[in-house]
């Protein structure tokens, strides 16, 4: 690992362009990495209806990338999970463009919150494999390590010192204390188990306190569901996508009036199944990074950790 003064690095990055400095407050309650790659509201296309000349369709151009400085590892990991949806099969060009343009400077998380449970997912507050550059704040300096080529490029032209053994020791001790502050939920085998629990009665119990607002899904860095809607003006209009939530009844309501997920129970089940059963089945990864945002944002204290514990304890017939 190398080391550098924080201010020096920031000056360097400022010259590079669109620098967004993050601190914890800016990454809460909304996830910055989600907003930066899948904005709340995104223009897909503009159209003009020119009488007999037909329809003119225009795709808006990108706005150029941002350097996101200080992204927490959980948020950086969340984008990797979004990639699984947006960069596989049919590639989503709007997402891809931002993904290619943005540079993520990940900062190890020295002070996890009481709601953090990232260590449940095989990584932790000091995991250095996400984003483009990994950094550790050791007080006087930043330890720094490029993860991707894009990261190395962002650091080009900077003089980096070699980290000393005592720096590394400092990092280790920070790491130990950070990891120690996190409660791990043992979720081993949950995805296999959930597969057999689709019709279990536990869902009604779990969903009781949930009022089916969209807070958890909107603050979640891996929830990506969206709605596409047109906005109509005289002779022109636009089509945009906006965040949507599987918690809303209208999300799955069909025009016929039929709703395959008519109550909060089915919707809650789908949300949990998606993250802990369907995601693993499709991609071999959980659709949750354990950042705890949903726990903090929930108006009725629905705690996903508690829900996982409850689900684990349910006995299912083999």
């Amino acid at each position: 690992m190398k080391k550098i003064e924080k201010e020096k690095l920031l000056r360097h990055l400022e010259e590079k362009g669109n620098l967004v400095r993050l601190d914890r407050a800016r990454q809460d309650p909304l996830s910055v990495t989600k907003s930066s790659h899948l904005p709340q509201e995104e223009l897909l296309l503009l159209f003009r209806i020119n009488g007999d000349k037909g329809v003119e369709i225009r795709v808006p151009e990108g706005r150029g990338g941002k350097i996101l400085f200080g992204v927490s590892p959980c948020e950086a990991r969340a984008v990797d999970l979004l990639d699984l949806t947006f960069l596989r099969d049919r590639i989503d060009p709007y997402y891809k463009r931002k993904r290619e343009d943005n540079v993520l400077f990940v900062l190890a998380c020295n002070k996890p919150r009481s709601t953090c449970f990232c260590t449940s997912f095989g990584y932790g507050p000091f995991s250095g494999k996400f984003g483009d550059v990994f950094m550790v704040d050791i007080g006087d300096n930043l330890l720094i390590d490029p993860v991707t080529e894009k990261g190395s490029k962002a650091l080009e032209g900077l003089e980096l010192e070699e980290a000393t053994p005592s720096d590394l020791e400092k990092m280790e001790s920070l790491k130990r204390s950070a990891e120690g502050a996190i409660t791990t939920v043992n979720i081993e085998g949950i995805s296999e188990k959930l597969k057999k629990m689709f019709l279990d009665e536990i869902w009604a119990d779990l969903a009781f306190k949930c009022v089916n607002c969209g807070a958890c899904t909107y603050v979640c860095p891996t929830c990506y569901c969206f709605d596409i809607q047109d906005v109509e003006r005289t002779n022109w209009g636009y089509r945009e996508r906006v965040w949507d939530s599987c918690m809303f009844p209208i999300y799955s309501l069909e025009t016929s009036g039929h709703n395959p997920r008519p109550t909060g129970v089915e919707r809650m089940r789908n949300r949990i199944m998606h993250k802990f059963s369907y995601y693993p089945e499709l991609y071999g990864e959980y659709g949750c990074v354990g950042c705890g945002r949903c726990i903090r944002a929930c108006p009725v204290n629905f705690d996903i950790r508690e829900a996982l514990e409850t689900l684990k304890e349910v006995e299912v017939a083999a």
Partner: protein
Amino acid sequence: MFEKLRETARELLSKGEVECVLGFAEGTLPMIYTPYHARKPEEAEKLVYGPFAAPNIATYLRKLKGKKAAVIVRGCESRTINLLISEKQLNREDVKIIGVPCTGALDRKRILKDYGGEIREARIEGEKVIVKGDKGEKAYVLEEYISPSCKSCLYPEAIDPDIKIDGPSRDGEKADFSDIEKIEKMSPAEKWEFFEKELSKCIRCYACREICPMCYCESCFVDSNRPVWVEPGFDYTDILSFHLIKMYHMAGRCVDCGACERACPLGIRLSFLTRKLTKDMKEAYNFVSGLSPEEKPALGVFSPDDREDFIL
């Protein structure tokens, strides 16, 4: 502290008078109780009440439709029940109302902000909230951190409860609307700026709508596409339209419990709007929502000599 309540609940359940007792239990986070319905006598042990209860528990009655339930309520929640009965959403016979004393609901987000660190534990001690976390132990005066809606509450005690749990409660002191009056005195431009700053944080997660016991419509105007009342997206004009129309729908139906404000993940002060409604309805029509289950909603009735001064 909760012995009397738990005993009552236990008795109701074991005698089979009700199928469940709806109230709150300790949550997983400090300073927030979580909605809970005890279904067995032994589950009554979990029931709690107090300033950490953020939602309006009457919201959950719609999940218990057709069941006989006892519900533990504060003043605002009992007024909500009256409204729900008057709007035919609830049968009085289906609920047993247990009134508990209320010292106001805590504005949890303000303590989190003022503490500035990670709070891991909290408890109420007399008139103080004691919190513990990575910044050490700190005490906050409850009265100073109570929800704005509670500060202007006229009826902290449950109205006509079937069972009453005694204890120290807030005074139905004179409502304080001074901050609303301050906004009223602003110029249109200042008002616009003030609300734009506050409301433009909205992410349209509709937590305020879903947590509201009076927002029980099967389909909401904001989801309508024929006509489109509110367009998709996060333009402030759309956000404001949503909140304005929602507020209008709440006129004379809002008990100003403050649950929407406490539910907002972005901490938007919705009570600036709900309290304005409360104030207007009281001033113009001497109307306070939910004082009796027989009362019709304020906009569903009229008086021949209603005020006319705003008409040309």
